[in-house]
């Protein structure tokens, strides 16, 4: 079966597209799928850093498209997960170096060799976004439980519908259960009520995401991380398994709180 292309996008910057891309890719690779990530954020590349592969970049996406190297040469294999590959973005160029049809051609070339092709979209609704969604089979929209991020997600979902690429699937990232409980933060239900799309995952706020990003190791590799578990669930949902949505409050019991205190000490 030829591989499927998943594009991860958001509209607003800083909601966790790159983190989501890296972790979903790693989650799929963990269950033995052959996965490749493409960083489409040309000029502001990040995905290589989050995956800890920055120092191994020789060729990038623009080199492939402009024919300066073969496709194989630009693929970087992950150190920890042998089934995970990355095509990094160019840092010294901009979004106009790539066209939507370039991306379609590139993905068609990759489909026979991979099960999943993940594209990390840049923020915004311009050329970079169009490049990222043009080859997509599945589009995942990442948002935070904040009014501004939800507004941008709504806009993006509208654009995806207009391109007839829908229906988009939603990940709500950085949920703080305590704040939701007190009514200080939009709840997942509030967000879903407005956006009216299918839910793919709920990611709780988790400090381990920051530490693992800084170390260049996706948080799905951390057995104990709540965010890691949420991303592993997303990986399974993408492959068609029915994983129930655990209400986020329940994931954090008294004992895990105590355990956390000890670990910190």
């Amino acid at each position: 079966m030829p591989g499927k292309v998943i594009t991860i996008t958001s509209g607003k910057g800083g909601v966790g597209k790159t983190t989501a891309t890296a972790n979903i890719a790693a989650a799929l690779a963990l269950i033995n799928f052959k996965v490749i990530c493409i960083d489409a954020d040309i000029g502001l590349r990040n995905l290589d850093v989050v995956l800890g592969l920055e120092n191994r970049i020789v060729y990038d996406l623009v080199d492939v498209i402009e024919g300066r190297c073969r496709l194989r040469q630009a693929m970087i294999r992950d150190k920890r997960l042998p089934e995970l590959y990355l095509i990094p973005a160019a840092q010294t160029r901009d979004k106009s170096a790539v066209s939507p049809s370039d991306m379609v051609r590139l993905c068609d070339e990759l489909r026979p060799d991979f099960d999943w092709i993940l594209i990390d979209s840049p923020a915004g609704i311009e050329r970079g976004f169009r490049n990222a969604i043009s080859p997509a089979n599945i589009i995942v929209v990442v948002t935070n439980p904040e009014i501004s991020a939800v507004r941008d997600a709504d806009r993006i979902i509208g654009l995806i519908e207009a391109e007839e690429k829908g229906p988009a699937q939603l990940i709500i990232n950085r949920i703080k259960p305590e704040m939701v409980k007190k009514g200080d933060m939009l709840s997942p239900d509030d967000v879903l009520e407005l956006l009216a799309v299918d839910l793919l995952g709920l990611i709780p706020e988790d400090e381990m995401v920051v530490t693992s990003t800084n170390r260049g190791a996706p948080v799905v590799l951390e057995e104990k991380s709540r965010a890691g578990q949420a991303f592993r669930n997303i990986g399974q949902r993408i492959t068609g398994e029915k994983v129930p949505f655990v209400p986020i409050e329940e994931q954090r019991g008294f004992f895990t709180q105590i355990g956390k205190m000890f670990r910190k000490g």
Partner: protein, 225 residues
Amino acid sequence: MMSNTVTVKGIREGILFHISDQDWNENFQALTTLVKDRQEFWKGAKVVLDAGNSEVTSDQLLALKDELSGYDLALWAVLSENKSTQNAAQFLGLATRISRLESNLTTDFETTYYQGEEAIIFNKTLRSGFRIEYDGHIIVIGDVNPGAEIVASGSVLVWGKLRGLVHAGALGNETAVVCALDLQPTQLRIAEQISITPKRRGKPQPEMAYLCDGKVVAEAWNYKG
């Protein structure tokens, strides 16, 4: 709104354009402006051209077909009393006859047309960044999310939650109203008046907003007729 040289009919098979015997270029111009104005509305429709007695060449028909397909309209048939126009259409593989054209299913555009009393229906949720402008009434079956904008010269009716910006009676019609199942617009304008939705107390309920002594008022809809 209606052009002098081109008339439009909605028929079962799609849209029927009837052109007059004038110069082709003029007809072509009129057709394209008409289509451009309503491209959202007619998108995806099948088009029949009734060319009457006028002589149209296959090149001209081909140019029209291309132009229409640019607006996502498919020219599939040409009706004509002129032999050479018929031949030209057949040469391009277009139908020259359609069935039941004059049956009861035909709606005549002209007889149902009243100035300013037209309406369009959007059967989907309008998301942030979408803007509808229409010279007439606008009906939305779905939600209007924050960041979406609706501007109508007539009234606006939303069968869903209205949370974006809405402007009814945009050309100055003070009798225009705004109705919604849940009326919570970011901003509501009727004619020249602008208002901001107050914080809601209690459950959402259908409401209608209108101008009363130059002020926007909203009233719960409890029709007990």
